[in-house]
Amino acid sequence: MNVIYLPDTQTAADELCARIGGKGQSLFKLYNAGLPVPLPVCIGTTGYELFVEENHLREKINLLLHRKDIKEMRWEEIWDISLRTQNLFQSGMYPEELHRAIREVVCRQFDGKPVVIRSSAPGEDGNTLSFAGLHESYVNVSGVDEILKKIKKVWASLWSDRAILYRQELGLEVASSTIAVVIQEFIEGESSGVVFSRSPLDATQLIIEAVYGLNQGLVNGDIEPDRWILDRNRQKPTQHRPPADRGYRFIRSASGGAQRQEIRPDLQALPPIQEEQVESVAALAIELEKFFATAQDVEWTIGNGRLYILQSRPVTAGIGEGEQSDKRSWYLSLNRSYDNLMQLWQSISGELLPAMDQDSSYLAGMVLDDLTDVALAEELKRRNAIHERWTSVYWNDFIPFAHGVRLFGEMYNDVVEPADPFEFVTLLTGQEMLSTDRNELLLACARMVCADDSLRSALEAGRVEEIDNEEFQQKLGQLKSRFSMAGPGTGEEESANALLAAMILQYGSLDLDPDIRQQTLQENVRRLESRFLGKAGEKLPVAPEELLEMARASYRLRDDDNIHIGRVAQEVERAKSHARRRIQSRGLSVTPESSVEELSQMLCGHVPLTTGVQRALAKNYDQAENRVRARQLQGQAASRGIARGNARVIAPGGELKDFKKGEVLVIDSIDPTMTFLAPLAAGIIERRGGMLIHGAIIAREYGIPCVTGVVNATSLINTGDFLTVDGYLGIVTVQRTQIS
């Protein structure tokens, strides 16, 4: 069985394309025609298949992919599958013969020189969609062991989150899908870029983009290139658009891969290629277009004064382009580079969060009683607009930054190669997060109650306002304002007090010692941290301490951002609640569902057509289904351990104060503003899936078993059902004690 292919292969064209993929075949053609490409060596699809066979990966991947309907999976769950798949490949062993064959060809053809390793998927060429960016490529890889490792990573990238997201369009099936690998000598370019032999927008134009150094920064969008538009016929530039600045370039990193470097000031003033080079790149693109008889999108580089072709493929529409109907393009945009994440971090911590807190503090300080009805109506709209603005910042900046955790996870797994692909999450836990701070404060209140019977009876009787213990009231005030613990969207003082009283009483029965918990966590974190930093040393193209710090900020933000934005939301609720009271005092009926628009109209004397009352009636939460009962539900094991207890199902906007210690929390999705329930819970089950969602984060903080991504959890499980939560396998077993 042939596994390794060189350009002088005698294999027939059709079979060759199936064995080494479109990219590999084009490179062979270019090389054989004497065009300037570094020698391509291909590991055929058989290599992937032998590896998969040896490690029984087919059914393992199938089990991951079929755990639930892909349409029901959130992006994060797809990433989880992809991460677990990568881990399967990483820990898999090469069949001996394959290992020997690859070692032998790498030593013979590359003789210790650094190489580039790329994917080449069969069928790529015939497609109208470009597969660009779906699979991984690695530049500047040295040493045969490192090359063997990276080949596994390219194979694993057949199951990248991007590929799984477009699984249907790609026809990606475990049984039939396969991938080849191309290895070439790495050319250390002084300038690099891309050229479109024909612009996708204007057929009379040819477009060239160029940057200093390697083209990594250009391809991932970190570095803005110089851009030339040429007239295709004359192959002469008609326009040159320099970037705003040419501050950085990517160069080879001593530890492998590429790294960003500042460009010398004298070079910054000059474009990365001169006019005659622009013309040679254009001429090469036209030659390639003739060679392949179709317009080409070419990656090129100039190294040692010579122009090389790195890749040439037909100009196609990119995957995910022009699709506004689904969220997949947005999901794909979450895949940010390290540099981009560092910039986001700066802007979030330096500007956005302080500005948002300033807004919420300003709103909290405003006395609404002083406003006339019309002014209150205006204030409501203004608050709503402020909230909407911050919600859009949340989607555009906070969520993408929170995915820094993901980048860290991938780098951690590369460096440490742990048996558990989610080990890195432990390294990020045990930090001071706002929600754990809040829970400590609740615990402090509970301790005061335990030591003071008068406090206890006041809480039990619901006389929270009457408590004259200053320290206690101060803590309560903090819980309400700093942690927006005012109940789900009610904004009412009484319900906030009732919730606080119920929670403090429940916390009184916890035997949780925050100091011991923190100590154990910190020890674990320290152990993993020193292991990571010890191994990362020379292996990463970025400073490992800086990467870890960014990942921690990203992890914290994932929990804290909702609390920050929760404060703004609470101020909208406060104004709404105020408006409702005024309207009700006139004998008109409103409900908590009434919108800002309706309330404003009513304050101004108009009666709206549809009211919140009607909408509340129309709201139809899934009812438990009669004939069908869940016996065992599968989700994702998000926090280890096993727990048994009665279910408490909390519907959206439902009463949190009824939650009792020792119950299993079953919820659609835990908002960080309600994670104070976590320390009381025996286990947590969440419909929303993922390892990094808030419920999972807080469950791990407290060591509570948690299963996420359970489809229809809140409709299939009823309050009172006896549950077993298996946080090792991600399984929930439902036992009913009573049959209706």
């Binding site: 079929h66 009669n626 009962r629 869940a630 016996r631 065992q632 049959i739």
Partner: protein
């Protein structure tokens, strides 16, 4: 009908429709006993019929203990089964057929197993109806749903 109920009912119907044989479990004095049986079912999934020789162990068992379980699955005996196969465990009670209902069930049974005509007609063959209490359907490796036919107590609780 709620969407999930419809989905589970659909899965069960297609599973039962696609299989000729089921494993029947009976017991005697606590000793379980399993047998491969040809079966037919009513479209409302409430009844399953099987036939067996009157002198067999399983028949003897059924006379003493009418509570039974059946296993019907669509495994292909390959590793794909772990993610792709479905299995239904049927919980029910064996009953003898009333003379009036026998022709309907005979037709149902022989439509699926025309080659068993002679076997069914023999006076030494017992034709048995299993009244289903509920199905326990397993799919996607570990997803387990119960589909109740009657409102009787769950036999497991």
């Amino acid at each position: 009908m709620p969407a999930l109920e419809k989905e589970i009912q659909g899965k069960l119907l297609s599973l039962l429709d696609g299989q000729q044989l089921a494993v029947l479990s009976t017991q005697r004095e606590g000793q379980p006993y399993s047998s491969l049986m040809a079966f037919a079912f009513t479209p409302d999934l409430a009844n399953i019929v099987v036939a067996t020789g009157k002198s067999t162990r399983k028949h003897q068992n059924l006379i003493q203990e009418s509570r039974v379980s059946l296993l019907i699955d669509n495994r292909s005996n390959s590793e794909n089964d772990f993610h792709a196969a479905m299995a239904a465990t049927v919980i029910g009670k064996a009953e003898s057929l009333a003379e009036s209902e026998r022709p309907v069930y005979e037709k149902l049974y022989l439509q699926r197993h025309p080659y068993l005509e002679k076997f069914l007609a023999s006076p030494t063959t017992a034709f048995i109806k299993i009244r289903v209490s509920h199905y326990v359907l397993v799919y996607r490796f570990q997803e387990v749903m119960e589909y109740r036919i009657s409102d009787e107590c769950n036999l497991f609780t």
